[in-house]
């Protein structure tokens, strides 16, 4: 059962630059699908078309069978640069999606407080974004996306502006959170290790033309904790194989 179906997506920007050239893939319900590929391959553009933020030149995106034309309450977006309002507290930023939907103040703040706590920021409800580190800001972005209770979470390189140590901790926390929430996630990243570590399914995009080169399901056994996963043969083999796939396109 797929939550999102992307069919023959083409996007041409002004000036005839073709960002997407027939991208097709399915996103199974309740799973985490990564989109990975070299920079300039249209990962973020694909995600924004799914979000309804960018209009495709041709092709379709369907969410639960209904075509996407605009943003909707079934999808929540996590931005690479966080997109937090500097004049609002952590709590108001986290509650902003609900505020825009007209949820009464008490109710939306209760919901936001719950997710601020779940992403590990309790105590910082009244802090402002400039007082937080990059990793903490992205946690606020994640809390905002979770608070609107959308079925599908769209994450655009959420950890790109976060340093490596914090990134690993954040990946753990994300997986733990998602296992409670049972969301469908589309996750854009340029890190092969990250994709193999967090994903149920990986869509590999290539550049020039921007198409899907391969869709793989690593199915790494996550039962043994993060260190044993990162050392397991299956994990290392998948990283190696995807690297091999992408290398072919980089050299051309």
């Amino acid at each position: 059962m797929s939550a999102v179906q992307v069919q023959q997506l083409v996007k041409e920007f002004d000036g005839g630059i073709r960002a997407l050239d027939g991208v097709t893939f399915d996103v199974p319900k309740g799973e985490l699908t990564s989109i990975i590929g070299p920079s300039g391959c249209g990962k973020t553009t694909t995600l924004k078309v799914v979000a309804g933020l960018v209009e495709a030149t041709s092709g379709t995106v369907e969410v639960n069978g209904a075509p996407v034309t605009a943003p909707g309450p079934d999808r929540a977006f996590v931005f690479q640069d966080f997109a937090l309002m500097p004049w609002a507290t952590v709590l108001r930023n986290a509650a902003f999606g609900l505020e825009l939907r007209g949820v009464p103040r008490r109710e939306r703040e209760d919901a936001a407080r719950e997710y601020v706590e779940k992403v590990g920021l309790s105590g910082f409800e009244d802090a402002y974004p400039h007082q937080l580190s990059g990793g903490m800001r992205q946690r606020v972005g994640l809390a905002r996306a979770l608070a609107v209770d959308a079925e599908i979470l769209l994450m655009d390189e959420p950890f790109a502006s976060v340093d490596e140590q914090i990134r690993r901790q954040f990946q753990e926390d994300l997986l733990r959170l998602l296992s409670d929430e049972r969301k469908t996630v589309i996750f854009v990243t340029h890190s092969i290790e990250e994709a193999v570590y967090v994903s149920d399914q990986i869509v590999i995009l290539t550049r020039g033309p921007s198409r899907v080169s391969n869709v793989v399901r690593p199915g790494v056994d996550r039962s043994g904790g993060s260190d044993s996963i990162r050392r397991s043969q299956a994990y290392l083999d998948w990283v190696e194989q995807i690297w091999h796939d992408l290398q072919g396109y980089l050299e051309r």
Binding site: G52, E99, F124, Q131
Partner: protein, 272 residues
């Protein structure tokens, strides 16, 4: 946990221990020192120069005190305040609205932007005398002078504040289903408030210039009259005191406006 939150926020605020903190905790100390240095240089300059038209700092301050106590300033400002307040209210409301519309609509931008850029670049002081041909020498002419000087900077800053809303915040408001009204009130205006208020502060300062200019050039009333009168009778300390009073009143107004901005739009910049 609570202490770690506190210490994290303290670091983020830039609190530093030791001697630096002792200074940073008392900014008024540095500020008064800087004012004292300027006044000292003034006193020395007047003492070193032989020009009787440049009064010393102490003579000016003495004259200032006298004019303040005998009610001369109060009377003059009561007169100047009328056109100044009316003019500033007109530009503050109309100017911010015009900037808002120009920032939101490409057509209004195309229509209005060149006008205000030309107005800003034009030598307004040279236009002020021409106002009398149209509006005579009364109240309206003075209001017009205030508007002429303060409008361009208010309109252009508001426009820039609105037009330069960060793209990612606009995308965010789209993704979280903001209506057009919500997008303007909850994202675009708060994001632009820094530039809008910077424009208002500059505009208020320009408005003071316009009001005094009108009183100097069109008809001598209010503070402009004080300056003209004391110059004609060669009472230079009183003349300088009148000019000083304009600086003081304008600075206080601008500071109050800054407080208002922090209170309304920028809670994150408010000192804890």
């Amino acid at each position: 946990m609570a202490t770690s939150v506190e210490s994290h926020l303290a670091v983020a605020r830039g609190d530093r221990p030791g001697r630096v903190a002792a200074w940073a905790g008392r900014p008024w100390l540095l500020r008064s020192a800087s004012i004292l240095v300027v006044l000292g240089l003034w006193q020395w300059g007047a003492w070193a120069s032989v020009n009787p038209a440049f009064p010393s700092c102490t003579a000016t301050l003495a004259a200032f005190w006298e004019l303040l106590v005998d009610g001369t300033f109060a009377g003059a400002y009561a007169e100047t305040a009328g056109p100044l307040i009316v003019g500033l209210l007109l530009t503050a409301i109309g100017g911010v609205l015009a900037g808002l519309v120009m920032g939101l609509s490409a057509r209004a931008e195309w229509l209005g932007l060149p006008l205000f850029i030309v107005l800003q670049a034009s030598p307004s002081a040279a236009i002020v005398p021409l106002i009398t041909f149209v509006y005579g020498i009364g109240f309206t002419a003075k209001v017009f002078a205030v508007v002429l000087l303060s409008a361009p900077v208010i309109v252009l800053n508001s426009y820039r504040g609105i037009a330069n809303t960060p793209r990612s915040l606009l995308e965010m408001s789209d993704a979280y289903l903001a209506s057009r009204r919500q997008r303007i009130w909850k994202v675009i205006i708060p994001a632009g408030s820094g530039l809008i208020f910077a424009g208002l502060r500059l505009g208020v300062a320009q408005g003071f210039t316009g009001a005094v200019l009108a009183e100097l050039i069109i008809t001598p009333t209010g503070v402009g009259d004080l300056i003209t009168y004391y110059r004609s009778v060669a009472d230079y300390p009183a003349m300088f005191a009148s000019i000083l009073s304009i600086i003081v009143v304008a600075s206080v107004t601008v500071t109050l406006l800054q407080r208002l901005e922090l209170r309304l739009f920028r809670p994150e910049l408010r000192p804890a």
